[in-house]
């Protein structure tokens, strides 16, 4: 896949945000907040960083693989997959509707290209990504495995089982990212269940931890992922703490948990799309 320039990436991000809002609005259901917050990350990954083929194979031999653990942010992933050529953007219209391959949370059962495992029940994706990374090592496959988790998701115990396992087994072909937006359904993570010092925790488990402080700045996100890659192959897994803002790009959605899982009205959609003028052409 051809690498896009920063300018093209920014334009793509604007289009992906338009897709997210329109998908969620159309069905009046879905999770726009963290989808908007993670848009730079997804766009940077699929259009600049990952070595992948839109001619999808489940095994992905020789390719970089991505696993989404916090499956509720499916709108951003579906949009990026469609815009990368995995399937026709027209299909985004079917999101969360009956007989669709675009299930509310990602699934393999309906056979949507680009999806390798179901997610939605939180805490499972890092384990899967580590397994995939180890399988690549057995095969001498040099592909990198990427995973994305939520910060609220860090409250699941399985995360820490996986955190303990990967350094012990020297899984150093893995870059896991935490979407560190500080929000979860019931409110700020600090209020719901304080995560304390996440960086210190992951470092204590034996990970190489980097901070990407400007998680909604394309140059910064790309630079963070580039740097993360230089840390691979040294006996440690890499954790990327991606500081984002939930709802980024739409002024009335930004920085609050209130848009975690609700859809904009007709007027709110129009207002939001007015703030995201750069477009590659809506589906």
């Amino acid at each position: 896949m051809e690498k896009l320039s920063t300018e093209q990436l920014k334009k793509t991000a604007s289009q992906v945000r338009r897709d997210i809002l329109r998908m969620v609005h159309e069905v009046q259901s879905g999770h726009p907040g963290a989808s908007l917050g993670c848009t730079e990350f997804f766009v940077a990954l699929y259009f600049n960083q990952m070595n992948h083929k839109s001619d999808f194979s489940m095994e992905g031999k020789g390719e970089d693989l991505f696993f989404l653990s916090n499956g509720h942010i499916s709108p951003v992933w579906y949009s990026v997959l469609a815009r990368s050529g995995y399937f026709n953007t027209e299909e985004l219209k079917t999101f969360r509707k009956i007989d669709s391959r675009l299930q509310g949370h990602p699934a393999t059962e309906e056979g949507l290209p680009g999806i390798r495992i179901a997610s939605g029940s939180l805490g499972q994706g890092l384990s899967v990504a580590i397994g995939a990374a180890q399988a690549k090592k057995i095969d001498g496959d040099e592909g990198v495995v990427y995973a994305l988790m939520g910060d609220g998701e860090q409250q699941e115990g399985q995360i820490w089982e996986a955190a303990m396992y990967a350094p012990h087994h020297k899984v150093d072909n893995l870059i896991a990212t935490i979407d560190f937006n500080g929000q979860q359904i019931d409110g700020p993570t600090d209020a719901v269940m304080n995560l304390q010092d996440l960086k210190a925790k992951w470092e204590a488990f034996g990970w190489e931890v980097i901070d990407t402080l400007k998680g909604n700045d394309m140059e910064s996100v790309v630079a963070g992922l580039e740097y993360a890659k230089t840390l691979l192959g040294k006996g440690k897994p890499v954790l990327n703490l991606l500081h984002t803002e939930m709802g980024y790009g739409v002024d009335f959605m930004v920085g609050t948990h209130k848009w975690h899982g609700i859809a904009p009205s007709d007027e709110q959609l129009e207002n939001a799309l007015g703030q995201l003028e750069e477009t590659l052409g809506d589906y």
Partner: protein, 322 residues
Amino acid sequence: MEKTLETKFTYTEKQDTRSGFGDGLLEAGRKNPNVVGLCADLIGSLKMGAFQKEFPERFFQVGIAEANMMGLAAGMSINGKIPFTGTFANFSTGRVYDQIRQSIAYSEKNVKICASHAGLTLGEDGATHQILEDLGMMRMLPNMTVINPCDYNQTKAATMAIAEYEGPVYLRFGRPKWPIFTPTDQKFEIGKAWKMIEGTDVTIFATGHLVWEAVVAEAKLREEGISAEVINIHTIKPLDTEAILESVAKTGACVTAEEHQYNGGLGDSVAQTLARNNPSPQEFIGVDDSFGESGTPTDLLEKYGLNADNIVKAAKKAIARK
């Protein structure tokens, strides 16, 4: 002098079914380089040591972290590995039901969940380490194949067969030394019931350790002039409904025998098949809505009514209800 019971199958040796798993895994690993093993700190209990020794690069010690193990296995399967996970049956199912549901069954991953120390016969460790609900839980999951073999040889054959089968499988076995009465070089056909003894008055459908008890029960019934058919249901799902219906059409009554709750296991599976197609008298040998407890395997089977004598009583009751 008491006459020796003449069973249609005999045994000269006892061995645990988990050893059948360990030996089957080693052979599967030799045949197919994609077979990998994962274990949650129970390598000795699961008999995975020989595989670990021969294929260290394909074996992963996970530690006491079963949820992570299920996810790792799902991930490894994505690029074509055939992961076999090993821990006790309780921790292979109830503890990680959601991980199996989402990352393995719903995602249709080629993971083999291998579960030892199932049922009551784990014995002295008591109810926390026994499990009598696992067949039900795994059977309810769409896409999941559920296998419960009866002795060392059948467990070994089943282990090798599931390595060649594409899709999620739950394989259940136990700890105690149990009679080996099936052939060494048997072919294991997933989903195909095995009619071990022909009969005309009643059918005994049995699974796991209770297949041997059914063989003994058949001999006891024969001495009383009752002809029992014994069918080995090693695959609970997909269930061989054709074999079940054909046998009950002939005998007109049946007993199901399993080291599991009545609820959710073989008994429920057969009852559903009969209710839909040919309602017939059925008696249930299994645990009646109860947890287990500490005791020797033999004492527990007797206390909870899971032995040949109870199968004999149940068979007579089923016949009387025709």
